[in-house]
């Protein structure tokens, strides 16, 4: 007889090895076996973390990271309805979006999936989001983190406008801002007054987790 841990490991390895074809069947198998939805989510999160590690080491590429992210999203759709009873509190609130003028969502989507899998409550505002839109949401949900993405070089200056809007509304000190996207650089992040810069989604999420750890420590 297969143990629960073996079922979870089997499912996790489908994600780690990016076996899209068998993932759905293995997920159904895990649900039917009587495992708690939360146990399955935690196992998948560990799988996604391994994929992220491999991506950071250069063993995996964006193709594997995105495909595993899609598998995680598929899994969450099936598991979410089963999870209400076992909901854990979020480690932080993050508002994410692609800045105005930019309709690319690939990097932003990966960040959103990874943040969710790491326990953040994520407010994904989508693409082409105005400075007002970001500032409103940050205030409305009392966000801990604001993650801004841009893929087109010409939309980078819009990131500055978002930060300026936060300053104007006196919300800047209550939220950590992180930026990312192909044309952005550390120098640019400093120049516009962002708290952080991430060269890739995995690094960005690690920075956000570290910020939350420090915030929670300071509160204790």
């Amino acid at each position: 007889m297969t143990s629960k841990e073996e079922i979870l490991e089997d499912l996790r390895s489908q994600m780690v090895e990016v076996n899209v074809a068998s993932f759905s069947d293995k997920l159904d198998e895990a649900i039917k076996s009587g495992l708690l939805a939360l146990e399955i989510v935690e196992s998948l999160t560990r799988g996604l973390r391994i994929v992220g590690d491999r991506y950071q080491k250069g063993d995996y590429f964006l193709a594997e990271l995105i495909t595993a992210g899609t598998m995680m999203t598929t899994g969450m759709k099936k598991l979410k309805p089963l999870m209400r009873a076992s909901k854990k509190s979020a480690i932080g609130k993050a508002v994410v979006g692609t800045v105005q003028g930019d309709l690319h969502d690939i990097g932003k989507n990966i960040v959103a999936v990874l943040l969710k899998s790491e326990g953040f409550e994520v407010y994904d505002l989508g693409v082409d989001v105005t400075a007002d839109g970001f500032a409103n949401k940050v205030r409305e949900v009392r966000a801990d983190i604001l993650a801004l993405s841009a893929l087109i070089t010409t939309t980078m200056p819009t990131m500055r406008q978002v930060i300026d809007e936060l300053i104007k509304r006196k919300s800047r000190n209550s939220v950590k801002v992180i930026i990312g996207g192909a044309p952005t650089t550390e120098d640019f992040a400093k120049d516009i007054g962002s708290d952080g810069y991430a060269r890739d989604a995995v690094t960005g999420v690690a920075i956000c987790k570290e910020w939350m750890r420090r915030i929670h420590e300071a509160v204790r």
Binding site: V18, V20, L62, G101, L103, T153, T154, F188, R199
Partner: protein, 351 residues
């Protein structure tokens, strides 16, 4: 020395009279400013005139392969072209952008009928543009590599996940697209372009979008076919890819390219690329287009000189930005950049 000779020598890794200047793209907002034309009305011929007026030696005929008359209007300032691409006019710059796709997945490809690769309306438009450049500037045609055009048709995420979910169908789609662009590339060569670009974004800042294994299986044979076809017609080939493509430079060099562009400054290392590949191919680009080109005069001069010092000695370097010249770049900065290149890029290099 005229621009065509200057560019041809650099592409052959020979020493011209001075470092040539070229660009993959310059925002139509800038072309509009230099020619005093509304950006939305700019034609390919205007771009050729604009590049030449700015003092460049090489212009690129960058296009998406669609006939303008076949657009389906969606709303004001937004339309779908005959490749199912959703396009939009960016109001502040009055320029057109690709913003999305009507393909939901690669499975939609089976029902899709590609437009004709060579059509009278496109031939006429490009013929005029190429003739506009004769005697003034080297004119380069462009074909998109299958990966980048696949990104445009499907979206980056759908293309990359299709490697795992629908590999056979993806191969079919990329192969169909490749045949289309090769036909168009041959037509451009017959019209008299001086060089060809193969534009294929393979990398992000950190590294390749797909693994070298996937690249060699899905992409490389198709790129090789493009390069072979154009080289056999005696036209030099410039390969463009954004991002860090260090892992597969050897593959594209071996496939027969003459030049590599744009050596994206926050992703690639110009001295390293020059040292490793500068004997075999011409290197083009690397000047930062986000902060340096639109930035202060002193920094712009310093960085332009740095590119020349690093990559120009011995020949085989074309000055260009590390991406394209953006709408927020002042005209006087472009003039400074051109003048600096002409002053310090004259052979023998003495900086």
């Amino acid at each position: 020395m005229d621009s065509v000779t200057r560019v041809t020598k650099a592409l052959s890794v020979e020493i011209p009279d001075r470092v040539p200047l070229g660009e993959f793209a310059i925002s139509d907002a800038i072309i509009g400013r230099i020619l005093n034309i509304e950006p939305a009305r700019i034609t390919y011929g205007d771009r050729v005139r604009g590049f030449a007026k700015l003092g460049l030696d090489l212009v690129t005929l960058l296009d998406w392969g669609a006939r303008p008359g076949k657009n389906r209007q969606m709303s004001e300032g937004s339309w779908v072209n005959e490749w199912n691409m959703i396009m939009k006019t960016d109001k502040p710059t009055d320029t057109d952008w690709w913003v999305g796709t009507r393909f939901n997945s690669v499975e939609d490809w089976e029902q899709f009928e590609m437009p004709p690769a060579v059509s009278d309306e496109r031939l006429e438009t490009f013929k005029k543009a190429i003739n506009e450049g004769k005697g003034k500037i080297a004119v380069a045609g462009l074909v998109w590599g299958p990966q980048h055009y696949g990104h445009v048709l499907l979206g980056v995420d759908k293309l990359l996940t299709s490697l795992y979910t629908h590999p056979k169908l993806l191969k079919k789609m990329l192969s169909d697209v490749n045949k289309w662009w090769i036909e168009w590339g041959k037509a451009l060569i017959d019209l008299g372009v001086d060089a060809m670009w193969v534009g294929d974004d393979l990398g992000e800042t950190k590294g390749l979008l797909m693994s070298p294994k996937h690249f060699r299986e899905f992409e490389l044979p198709l790129i090789r076919e493009q390069i072979d076809t154009f080289r056999k017609k005696h036209v030099p080939v410039i390969f463009h890819s954004d991002g860090n493509i260090t892992q597969i430079i050897g593959d594209v060099v071996q496939a027969g390219i003459n030049a590599l562009h744009p050596i994206q400054p926050n992703a690639m290392d110009l001295p390293g690329v020059k040292a490793a590949w500068g004997q075999k191919i011409c290197v083009m680009g690397n000047l930062d287009s986000t902060l340096v080109l639109p930035g202060s005069r002193d920094k712009l001069i310093e960085e332009t000189k740095k590119c020349i010092r690093t990559a120009a000695p011995g020949g085989g370097y074309i000055m260009a930005s590390g991406n394209s010249i953006l709408a927020n770049t002042p005209l006087e900065n472009i003039q400074t950049w051109v003048e600096t290149t002409k002053k310090y890029g004259t052979y023998p290099i003495r900086i």
